[in-house]
Amino acid sequence: MPQSVSQHVPLIALEGVGKWYGAYHALRSVNLTVAKGEKIVLCGPSGSGKSTLIRCINHLEEIQEGKITVEGTVLNHSASTVDAVRREVGMVFQSFNLFPHMTILENCILAPMRVKKMAKAEAEATARKYLERVRILDQADKYPAQLSGGQQQRAAIARALCMEPKAMLFDEPTSALDPEMVKEVLDTMIGLARDGMTMICVTHEMGFARQVADRVVFMASGEIIEEGPPEEFFRNPQHQRTRAFLGEILAHH
């Protein structure tokens, strides 16, 4: 239906994306489209290219083949398209990567002030709003090292939200956390999903996938092997490699 095309323009689209590290073929003609408001969980064995894939979306890694489009901007190597994409897409890392020499509040206001040229008072108001939302407003004036892992990761989520991105990329956000802290971070992410944020999450938390994902995407050896709604994906995986992976991961949970 051509008349409704504009409504169905995906927020993020990867077409035939290929990437090599030297001779190592990290991504093999990956196609993935993410609609506005959609939540994708990306899973797969380690080394399957899932982290590489989301790192290509905000150009932390360069692709050698194919095309990535974010909000109508085709990502090429020019600084202007990279800037445009990074403005729209926030990212949360496995190792938090908070700036250790700044307080939590300073971490949150840096990018809005430098990139969006926001006044300090306004940036602080925004920061407090999102710190409140991830429930660590009381930690605003502490340094990252004074916080627990779970609190640090929630601060990192707040920092990304302060740029008011249209989509969020999560790169194994709970993998570096002690087990008792995983839940508070997942709860924060679930809240974010409920509020309609477009999300791509690389995670092995299958409970989270069941609860919030619109689609689960399984990758192996740099390829998307299969994808589907969580119910279907978990109940009836089509591919042998998916079954093997799920068998292994569910046995541990």
């Binding site: 890392f93 990567n97 700036f99 430098r114 990139v115």
Partner: protein, 216 residues
């Protein structure tokens, strides 16, 4: 044998003034250009990386004395009539830039890669990434080595005597020749150097300890 009185001490302190001035020039000039060298060394641009690596290799691999000669007589050979001050300032700046550049390169590279990635993901540009995120962490890491180099530089300024500067060591030599009391004079000169360098070394050691406890 003449005695060492107020005039002799005053003469030594005049020399100390030049020692400190030369150190300051070297450190400030070396700080500014050394920062550029460090940034070029860690830039994504291969040409910049190689050019600065070569520069560092040359100035770390040759004696400061020779560098002073080359710059002092070199500029004269080219036909430029520059003040001895300027020539020495250039030589010390070039020397300090190479060492500080290399020290700070190490500091920059010791900052975890995730810091740059997080800054990039937030949309921060190069200048902000360097100024707000990388350098504050890198300079803290590099502080002990920077102080160590500063101590070397203070003592290294004595080589400026070779092109006619009467700094502390040269002043000591002159006083010693006048009074025929080399042991006393150089004991005083040594004590002055020590009183300046030792507190710096203590500060450096303390900075290093606080870094170690921070990383634990």
């Amino acid at each position: 044998m003449a005695s060492i009185g107020f005039n002799e001490l005053y003469f030594l302190l005049q020399g100390l003034k030049w020692t400190l001035a030369l150190t300051l020039i070297g450190f400030i000039g070396g700080g500014v250009f050394g920062l550029m060298v460090a940034l070029a060394r860690t830039a994504e641009n291969r040409v910049l990386q190689r050019a600065t690596a070569g520069y560092i290799a040359v100035f770390q691999g040759t004696p400061l004395l020779m560098q002073l000669f080359v710059v002092y007589y070199g500029v004269a050979l080219v036909g430029l009539d520059v003040d001895a001050w300027l020539a020495v300032a250039i030589a010390f700046t070039l020397h300090a830039s190479a060492f500080l550049g290399e020290i700070w390169r190490g500091g920059i590279q010791a900052v975890p890669k995730g810091q740059t990635e997080a800054a990039k993901a937030l949309g921060l540009h190069y200048v902000s990434r360097v100024r707000d995120v990388i350098l504050p962490q890198a300079l803290k890491i590099a502080l002990p080595a920077t102080i160590g180099f500063l101590v070397q530089l203070i003592k290294g300024t004595s080589l400026a005597a070779i092109v006619g500067f009467v700094e502390l060591s040269r002043a000591g030599q002159i006083v010693s020749n006048q009074t025929f009391r080399p042991l006393t004079v150089f004991a005083i000169v040594g004590l002055i150097y020590f009183l300046i360098c030792w507190p710096l070394s203590l500060w450096g050691a303390r900075a290093e300890r606080s870094l170690q406890t921070a990383s634990r």
